[in-house]
Structure formats: C-alpha cells, structure tokens
Symmetry: D2
Subunit: 193 residues, 4 copies
C-alpha cells in the first residue's frame, strides 16, 4: 500500500473561534482541543513518514455564483457569509498551512472527489490507501470516504482526528463508515516519535 | 421543477425473504411490509403523474471480478454469493419490475451516480429534482442523495420508502440528510388517488 | 502491464450493409472488409491470450429521450432512426457478439468513459493498458483514447482495426493520437496462431 | 442560451516566444499574431457582453509527480521542463491575465472537464453554451469540445481564436469538430464595438 494523508477543511471559518460556521465544530469544548491536537500530531507524523499530504479546502466565489442553491447546507454557507475564496475565513487554520510541495485541492461541494483533481493526483502518484482526517465528520469527511471506497481506494478514517458540532451525527457516521473504511485511532497508524 | 423517481435496489437478494443479503432489510417485521407497500404506492403514483422512472440495480460479474475488494461491505457481498448479474437474486423484486420505457441503471458501487449513466439520463431529459426511495438507507440511498446534492440536483427523500436492517443507522441517516434534501413522506409528494 | 481489449461499436446500424448509419463505414470497399477481418482476428487472438474483453455499445431510448440534442452528430442519429436500444440496429454485428463472461458497457455518448462503468470495470480488475479497436475512428475511438490517456491508462490503438467512412478524418485522427497512444498494427500486438 | 467564454492555455510556456513548448504555436508567423490578436479581441468583447469568463490553465508539480507518464505528449512536457506550477512558464500570457472575479480552472490533463471543477462552475451558474478558444487545437481544445458535447452543452468553437504548431492537424480538428460544435469566426459571435 502507498499512503496519502487527506486533511479536510482545516480552515478558519470552520475551525477557528472567530470563524463564521458554528455547526462544524463546538470550539469551546475539550473535545475540540483534543481533535485539533491529534490532527496536528497526525500531520506531523505523516510528514515524517514521507506520506503524500493533500489538503482539501472548500471555498466559493465572493458572490456565491458557484454555490449550488439546492439544499440547506449550501444555503447556510451563503447566509453566514462564510468561505469566500481569498478571505481569512477560507484560509488554512494556523498549524495546518500547506507546505510548498504539498497538494491543495479546492472544491465547492462536500465530496473531495466530485469534480476535482483529487483522483488524478492520487492515480498519478500510485497512491492506493487514503488516511482521512478533518471535519465535519458527517458531511465532507463521510462523503469523501464513501466516494473513495466506491472507486477502489483503501481507506483509513482517523477517528480521533475527525469532528463535528453534532456529536450524535459524528458517532453515527463513524459507525456506518466502519463498513467502508478502517475506523482507527491516529496513534495506531502514525505513532508520534 | 421536472421530477424523476429514483427506485434503488428493489432486488431479490436485498428485499426478498429468500434473498442472500440479510442486513439490508429485516424482512419479518411490520416495518418491512409497510416500507414495501409504501414504495409500491409511490411507484404507482409516480407513473400516474407521468414522472420519469429510473430503477437502479446493483450487480456484479458471476466471478466478482468487478467487485472492489477494499472494504467490508463489498467483501460481504462476495462471501454471501449475492447479486450475481443475471441471477434471480439480482433481478427485480416482484412489483418493482421496470417497464419497457423506463430507465434501468446498473452499478457496482454504492452511489447511483459514480461512473454510471445516471447523470446523462437526467440531464438529457431536463430533470431538476430527484425523488429517492429504496435501500439500504445508510449505504446506497444516502450516497446517492449526497452525490445528487453535490452536483446541483434538488432532492426529496421519501422517508417511508427507505429502509435498512439497522434501524439506528437508518434514523441517523435521515437526520443528517435533512441538510442535503427534503426528507418527506411519500404521501405528501405523491398522493394516491 | 495487464491488458484489456476494447471493442467499440461493432453494431449493425454502424457496420452492417443494412445498418442505418452510412457515414461510419464505407461498407462496399475492400478496406471495410479488411477492417472487419482484422478486427475479428484481433478479437479471437485476445480471447486466446486471456485478455479481458470489453464491448462498448452505443444505444438510445426508442423515443431518443436520452439523446443530447446539442450537435449535428447526435441529431443525425435521431434523423436516421438509428441505434434504438433493443433493436436489430443496436445489436452486435455477427462475429462480434459478447460472450457470457465478457463485459458490455453501454453509452449514449462518444466517449466510452464519460459517465459509464468502464473505469470501474478496469480499476477493479487491475487493468493498466487498453488495446482499442472499432469505429468511427475520429469520433468514439478517438474520444475514448483521449479520455483513457488523460486518466493514466496506457493505450495501444490497433490501427488496422479502426475505420471511418471519412478516410481523411481517419488518417488525421491516427496521426494526432500517436502523441497519446501507441498506434500500431494488430498483428504486432496479437499474433494470430 | 447562457454563454461562457472558455480560454484555454494562454500561458507563457505555450504561447510566449521564450516559452518552453515549441509545438503548440509557431510563434514567428503572421498566423500566430493574428490568432493572439483575435483572441484578445474576443476576450474583451466577451467581458463587455457580460459573459462568464473561464480561464483554463494546465500545470504540474515542480517534480512532475502529478504527471501521467503514459504517453508522448505528457512525457514531452517533462523533458522540456515546462508548465511547472508557480513558474513564469505556467503563468498567464500578458493580455490574458484572469481578472479578480473570473474563474480559473487548473488541470493536469488535456480535457478541461476531466476531473476538474469546470462542470460544477458551469452548472451552478446555469451556463448552457460554451464558446471555446485557445490552443493547441488538436489536443486540449478538441478534447474539451468533445467532452462538453458528450455531456450536453452547446459549443461554439471560435475558429480564428484557436491555434496549433501543426497546421494540418489544426485543420483536420476543425473539420471533425463541426459535427460536435458550431465552428465559427469570433467576429460572428462577438462583434467588436
């Protein structure tokens, strides 16, 4: 297996206390702190292990002309004025900035695969297994894991490096995804050294 | 809005008491009976309303050479010897047989959109809204709804016409999908006459 | 390299003297006879060599409701009344019938990859190189070769097993595709035994 | 019809006299000058007309780790050291710089549609017709037109705003594409004012 780490949506509007989207992460809990700490450790360990690192960012045009207006989730993004391309809110959260040689995939949907370059980035490098972390668990993370499984990739979902503002949905998501991926602790996969 | 009804995986191995997959539907419950009855009524009403009807069937080569061997769900299909193309198990459940002019999409994955003709079938006919029913809720139904939302379709999920052998996962799925689709009773959308 | 043979559009309306599409193959020439003979030999040799065989058929609903009405090529198909699903015209030309265990991919577009199961069929079987034959060279064959190259497959185009009613376009196509595929004689790849 | 202008690969390595790719444009001919002038006029007129403007750039990682090594065309890009992301060669040619609110799609393949956000950008804005210009005609332009036609878009190919270092291939391409698009002069579509 050749591994890549997929880091989904570690962006200010989604993770930072001043970010515009409140429902992706309950910022003031110890769980949120643990999630961000575990994710930083996993990122550091994956870099040390020489894995391909792929950052996926979701962002929209400033006038939301590329936002699908077909469902509550997308409409809410517009109402909140969140994730405008080039804004502070769409930028990487401190500690999750992509490095020069790392891959950045941008999307305007929930799946990291739907109409993005992600599959080409993976196939051209011979990647066969994705290690996924990020948020929100039941939206972008789950959709990305589902798409990866459907097109043949092996997936490990780093459970402690996923989060959602809706803890119940987060848990249900991990439970269902166990049929499509290895749901596993980041420490088991990427021991800190 | 121009509507289509998407009927997912009403196949013997998945729904029939003698079918090989036990976890998609708990056949001997009143809930299962209600689900199948509601789905038949919705199909009849959609036909009466002149909607485009699309049946999605999942099936694999007899030697499973086209089955992805990357996760528990697909591997289980092979272990159970289920859904072999051309077999009784892969055929439509009685009452859900596609009619001559209706569309049949075949897939070897969970999403009805991933690498199938479905999107072309919809775009060529100017369909803008999908009404989705079928099983299992948290696998094929959910993945299909997610993909539809991500590429701009309006989606109504007919809640009483979805089912799963795992009731808890079914409920969690409906709850999450309410952000991506209108989760609604079939009677509200397609009144029987 | 693991090889598959892709046989495109060997269907009555496209190849048979009584078929409805006149511009895909100039039936009454010696070139047409040679093309069909070479293609049959290649199919037999590929079967003998144990390659995966994939037949791609193009077909439309009887009312052409799934036909894109955006360009001359598709509109012409409708005017000619060609390639209706289930008709004699859409069926395999004698000598090119798919065998039981062989793969059949159906499409309503020029590319064999665009919104079909083809890529999943290839990835699930670990195929890395496509050997392409069929017609018309400058439409379906060329589009399929282009798509295959763009997503990382190695492609061999069996030059003597491709044809078009427009010889000039056929030649220009082979010339351009030499940058994307190995344009080669079928004998060099699949020696008859 | 709602129109967009698609401007393909107006980048230094491909168009500038000091660019690294020699075969995309024969820079020192009057035809090259005319092509660039006509393309600038079309871009200005499309902006004046209020069309959506989409720039498509092709670029690769500095180490070409995302380059498919399956065919001559891609391998040549590496040999020439061309189109490295972030380099002068991959940047927009003077006169073709994207403006702030315009869309930029980046690809590592020939088609502008294959695994990019392009289709989502178009669908979310209700675009139904693409007006395509750029180079090289027989590679990226042709592949993009083919893909657009296959998924239902109406296409106008601005013939005087397309170019290739291989004039014969350029002409053959326009001739074949007339079945899939309206091949037309930019003046007929976008009169300069």
């Amino acid at each position: 297996m050749s591994d890549a780490l997929l880091a989904l949506h570690f962006q200010n509007d989604i993770c930072h206390p001043d970010g515009r989207i409140p429902f992706s992460l309950d910022r003031h809990t110890i769980d949120a702190t643990n999630f961000l700490d575990a994710s930083k450790r996993a990122l550091a360990a994956a870099r040390k292990a020489g894995w391909i690192i792929i950052h996926v960012h979701i962002a929209f045009a400033a006038d939301y002309s590329d936002l699908m207006r077909n469902c509550r989730l997308f409409l809410k993004t517009e109402t909140l004025g969140a994730l405008k391309r080039g804004s502070w809110g769409a930028a990487a959260l401190a500690g999750f900035e992509p490095r020069d040689h790392e891959i950045v995939v941008t999307t305007n949907g929930n799946s990291s695969f739907g109409r993005t370059q992600l599959e080409n980035e993976l196939r051209s490098r011979g990647i066969t297994r994705l290690n996924v972390m990020g948020l929100a668990t039941q939206f972008s993370v789950e959709h990305t894991v589902r798409d990866a499984a459907d097109i043949g990739f092996h997936v490990r979902l780093l459970a402690d490096c996923c989060a959602s503002g809706d803890v119940e949905a987060h848990r249900a998501s991990l439970r269902t995804l166990a049929m499509l991926a290895d749901v596993i602790s980041s420490d088991a996969v990427l021991p800190a050294r």
